[in-house]
């Protein structure tokens, strides 16, 4: 008879759609994108479908703050620096600034800084230790001063942060060593192009089927 641990954390091949394959999502980029997908998924649904969503929405605010922290750690990874084990946004921001200079991406960082510093530091001010929206009281057992939050505006700003950050890390990708040798370049390029083409063809067919068949 399977134990509770076997049921909740099963080994072997995923047995059905309930299983999360977490070994495939253990990177800064995936976790960053996952947070963005989750907040985009939750924000409109909580507001439209849930009765008195404040108690659930509280955690969405934390997720938005967490998205910023994970995003900054993604920058550090892509700039070739070890992600620091800190939740402190100010520390992470300064490390990113320094790492961008070392990676010769100062101008790209400056553009990101101009576009996103206000948002990042706003979240840092309201939740400096990543605990304000997770627990009802602080370490001295005092209630937080949390006020009100507009989840839709927060999601808009979070999504803009994500877009700008991904543009920055795409610039950093160019500095990464190539994963293949020159002699396999043509073969690899053909495989990559075939995959891109097939993905786009699927999207096109999907759009046309949705327009033509399901309407």
């Amino acid at each position: 008879m399977p134990t509770l641990a076997d049921l909740i954390f099963p080994g072997g091949e995923p047995r059905d759609g309930n299983i999360l394959r977490l070994e495939l999502v253990g990177t800064w980029e995936t976790q960053f994108l996952g947070l963005g997908r989750l907040t985009a998924f939750l924000t409109p649904r909580l507001l439209e479908e849930a009765y008195a969503a404040d108690d659930m929405g509280l955690y969405v605010v934390f997720l938005q703050r967490h998205r910023v922290e994970v995003g900054l750690k993604l920058i550090l990874e892509r700039m070739g620096t070890t992600a620091v084990g800190s939740h402190n946004i100010d520390t992470l921001w300064n490390r990113c600034d320094q790492a961008s200079t070392e990676a010769h991406l100062s101008s790209q960082w400056d553009a990101f800084d101009r576009a996103q510093q206000d948002f990042v530091y706003l979240l840092d001010r309201v939740d400096p230790g990543a605990a304000t929206f997770r627990y009802p009281v602080d370490l001295k057992n005092q209630p937080w001063k949390r006020g009100q939050v507009d989840l839709v505006e927060l999601e808009k700003a979070g999504a803009a942060f994500q877009n700008d950050l991904l543009a920055l890390v795409r610039e950093a990708a160019a500095a990464e060593p190539m994963p293949i040798a020159e002699e396999e370049a043509t073969e690899v390029a053909e495989e990559l192009r075939s995959l891109v083409g097939r993905c786009r063809s699927l999207m096109r067919t999907h759009r046309e089927i949705a327009e033509d068949f399901f309407q």
Binding site: E176, L192, R193, G197
Partner: protein, 140 residues
């Protein structure tokens, strides 16, 4: 009481659920397909630029035939025929897309297994995850 009823989420306007618009597995796959294509394309451009690769021009995409139409005033037998034709059209197009896509995914999945740098490793993991979603469609 009316005020309480107005607050009841079940009586409020619901958002359309994207997973229920068509075939749910297909919808879920489509959501991640373009981001995957973009990141693979980024690496493709780097490979082409770095090693000055010259690829033959790609073949033109196959056109999609229009779906067979249902005509509301047709007799029931003709409507049943048209419905059958629509389902066949849908399955044909799905198979036509998914089979070569699976082959392309398998090739990159296997090729990228040993890639270790962060961006390249990310592509491997994304393609692997995408592959298992494709396999779910294949068994639907």
């Amino acid at each position: 009481m009316d005020a309480m009823r107005a607050l009841n989420p079940s009586s409020r306007k619901r958002l359309p659920d994207p997973r229920r618009a068509g075939v749910p597995e297909f919808e879920a796959l489509a959501e991640v397909t373009e981001p995957l294509a973009s990141s693979v394309e980024g690496l493709l451009e780097r490979v082409i630029d770095t090693y000055e690769v010259e690829l033959a021009p790609p073949s033109a995409p196959r056109p999609i035939d229009p779906a067979p139409r249902l005509t509301p005033f047709d007799p029931p037998a003709r409507q049943a025929e048209a419905r059958k034709a629509q389902i066949e059209w849908f399955v044909d197009h799905l198979v036509r897309e998914v089979r070569p896509l699976t082959e392309a995914v398998d090739a990159v999945c296997s090729r990228s297994k040993s890639w270790e740098t962060p961006v390249a490793r990310q592509i491997h993991l994304d393609v692997t995850r995408f592959r298992s979603r494709l396999l779910r469609i294949g068994t639907t």
